[in-house]
């Protein structure tokens, strides 16, 4: 039993909300280590209120138990706070294939308080990212809401193919 083996098993655990992406690709698993016989998996919440975290924790335990690891300990780590920068390229590609535009810029700049929907792409201190439509590939898209169907997504619409879509927002 080694750490790399555990990582590959965890790579098969799907995110409960977005089943095409694994929790490893999402950047939720921060560390795997052995403490004697116990396997210690460190996970970090995406958003503090993310209702999927409990299910993710259970899926991790189930997956490792199924592979014969009985002694598994989960550690919840808040700092450094999760960021979309930790999402893997494979994860981003899977999101796009699933119809969710992946995060396009580095983590949000928390110093910019101003701006948003109304002020458009460059007004205020907050630059609205250029988001590519996952359906037709156009960059002619518009933010409809900062908040989407889950805490990690924003709502966009494509001005070319007219399809609405989810954008995995930078965080």
């Amino acid at each position: 039993m080694n750490v790399a083996q555990v990582w590959s098993w965890l790579g098969e655990v799907a995110d409960p909300e977005i089943p095409v992406i694994s929790i490893v690709d999402l950047g939720i698993v921060r560390a795997v280590a052995f403490d004697g016989d116990a396997c210690v998996v460190t996970i970090t919440p995406t958003y503090s209120g993310c209702p999927a975290m409990q299910m993710i924790a259970e899926s991790v335990l189930d997956a490792l138990h199924a592979h014969g690891l009985d002694d598994v300990r989960l550690v919840n780590q808040l700092s450094p706070a999760w960021t979309t920068d930790w999402m893997s390229d494979a994860g981003k590609a899977a999101l796009k294939g699933y119809g969710i535009a992946p995060p396009t810029q580095q983590a949000i700049d928390i110093s910019g308080l101003r701006g948003g929907v109304k002020r458009g792409k460059s007004g205020g201190g907050f630059v609205v990212p250029d988001v590519t439509c996952p359906n037709c590939g156009s960059t002619h898209t518009q933010l409809t809401s900062q908040f989407g169907s889950t805490p990690c997504k924003a709502l966009y619409k494509c001005l070319d193919c007219r399809e609405p879509f989810d954008y995995f927002k930078c965080h």
Partner: protein, 253 residues
Amino acid sequence: MANFPDPKLTYLLRQGDNALILSQQLSKLCGKGPALEEDMALTNVALDLLGQTRMWLGYAAELRGEGDEDTLAFLRDAQDLRCCLLVEQPNGNYADTMMRQFYFDTWHYFLMQGLLTSSDPRIAEIAEKSIKEVTYHLRRSGDLVVRLGDGTLDSHARIQHAANALWMYSGEVFLYDAADLAMVEQGVAPSSDSLRAAFLEHVSEIFAEATLTMPDPDAWMQRGGKQGRHTEHLGFILAEMQFLQRAYPGAEW
């Protein structure tokens, strides 16, 4: 639970209770937002605040040495809650809801920024996690204040009324008592003066853009919530929020 002799426990309960009660208030609007996007935004913010509540009250319960986040949320009566009066004010019309949010978010953002360098590493971690969410909240509530203020005659009148009516509840968070001052002294919390200056600057900037008249910064501020003396609204909020655990103790789903 009558008194909390430990200033840090008091401080944690204040943070947790603010997030808990505002989350509960926003949750009441689920399915009732004025537009689908607004409905989702309200419930997203409510969810973020609930997640933050769990971190604050979880830490508070550990410090207290008994119970957990759930017993603190569901089994304390109004006089034991330490939320400020602002968060317990009714949802009212949408201008009232958004102005309450804007005053709260503005203070909350600068507080989290201050807590990033807290001498208590656990508090600094909670702030680091929360500030990303709080930044989104403040952008949105500031945006809506501008839209409503610089909107129609009707929306302008309503948001100006909300700004004036809620103003007297906006200052309690800057009135530090012995527990707050002990936290400042220990390097756990930022001082009131720096937070209040940043708050007033941001509010006046957004109000100028929203064509709103800024209320008097030196007006009398209502107080007492942080010490457990609440407005009549809190009892009704708790009656709804705590009913299940009171009627069926230990119920789970």
